[in-house]
Amino acid sequence: MNLKNNIAISDSGFVFNPASGESFSVNPIGLEMLNHIRQGQSIEEIVNSIEKDFQVEKSVIERDLHDFIDMMSQYHLIQNEEE
């Protein structure tokens, strides 16, 4: 699970994919997750790090993170290891 190299992410949650010309907006939690993914963190690491800062159970973060990653794949923002 890697974010595609040239994806641009602004601090305000604006995401741009120069390969397709598509742009997206993410909310603050999404932005945080996106930055963790970009740093190459594993699902477990991301969940732990978010749980530290936010008032939420780990199971909820994990479920939401998987859903978020699915959406990113659907938008072609993430490439799997073998690609």
């Binding site: 742009s23 997206f24 999404g30 909820v60 923002l77």
Partner: protein
Amino acid sequence: MITKKRYERPVIKKLESNMPNKFGTRTEYEPVLHLDDVPVKDLISKYGSPLFVVSERKIRKNYQAAKQAFETRYPRVQFAWSYKTNYLNAVCNIFHQEGSWAEVVSGFEYDKAINNGVPGNNIIFNGPDKTEQDLRKAITNNSLIHIDHLDELYMLQEIAKSTKQKPRVAIRVNMDTGIYPIWDRFGFNFENGQAWDALNKIMFSGTMELVGLHTHIGTFMLSPNAYAVAATKLANLAQRLQQKYDHEIKYIDMGGGFASRNTLKGAYLPGTDTNPSIDEFAEAITSALINSDFRPKNPPLLILETGRALIDDAAWLLGSVIANKRLADGRRSTIIDIGVNILFTAFWYAHKITPAQKFTSYTEETVIYGPLCMNIDIIRDNITLPLLNKGDQIVAHHVGAYNMTQWMQFITLRPKVVLIDQNSKVHVIRNNETLQNLMELEAVPTHLATFDL
């Protein structure tokens, strides 16, 4: 101590610049936290979810506004509460306290009105299904019987002859008012002469007292002009009765069917912006009556059987989020505990749904499903909502008409209905169903009483 930040689920939204939408989509992220000054959270924690909430304040306000709209334009006006729209006794009694008569369409509703204490002569009995027993009761109570078909007319004649009582009757007239579809299944048709024929039969029989003329041209009518056409046609019949028999009818009943402020599915703009107001209907009807050729010595009483327009926005349905799901095509779906079994009107309205807690401005396009294990259980096909989590509460708006009568016990049990009175005090006006309630109606033959598995 470090306080942790509030969590919201992550969302990524593609920005579309190539798909303009003339009207834009309305985002319902303005939360509704209170209903008539009572916190939604408290209502759900005390009375459960889902929960119907009826506002006494709003009902009275709607009634008084409608009454004023007609009374400022016409000298003699009488409303009759349409029981089928919402026949919870507490709701009916608010209307009766305001001065409404009762308009019923079955023996069951008739008995309900009598039980509520409505005097028999203030009950209008409509509908195609009146049994002989119903009619005898209505005649004895001096109720207003609106004849739907010739079989009923002949039955009334026989009862009148055998009992030597003189029923007070009107006929229901159906007609072309320029709208589609024409409701021609109830009553007697104006254009083909059936209505005039029925009136002649009543006048010649001498066994009944013809007191009024009634029509009900359709439901959720968006054209006030159709009522003007209908009122003109009824005035025409009244005038012919006057000319031929020197008989003056005492009232003209224009029925109901005025659109509420709900939004029909497929409409571009919300009903609150586009649907005609009660004043527009009042203007159309009263102008047509006043300007007609009918010249009575006393203006006939104008009766209105408005239901939906008086109660729809006076009730809400509160519910909770059961789960969020991602559909195969990537769309978000949210499952709530309100199903089409209790929100029957979700089949034809795009009900306004708002969250009952504060949210950020991030939204998602969502399909809202009910809790039933049935494919038809869809509350909204597409709505832009804030990021709802399991357990969050929502408010469905404009649910006062027909839901609390057309609802069905299907898969789940029906919830409580509460009324918020004018002092913001909450009263349970219908309890939730229990398994016991339903079992009481069932019987299991002895040979089916036991089994081994």
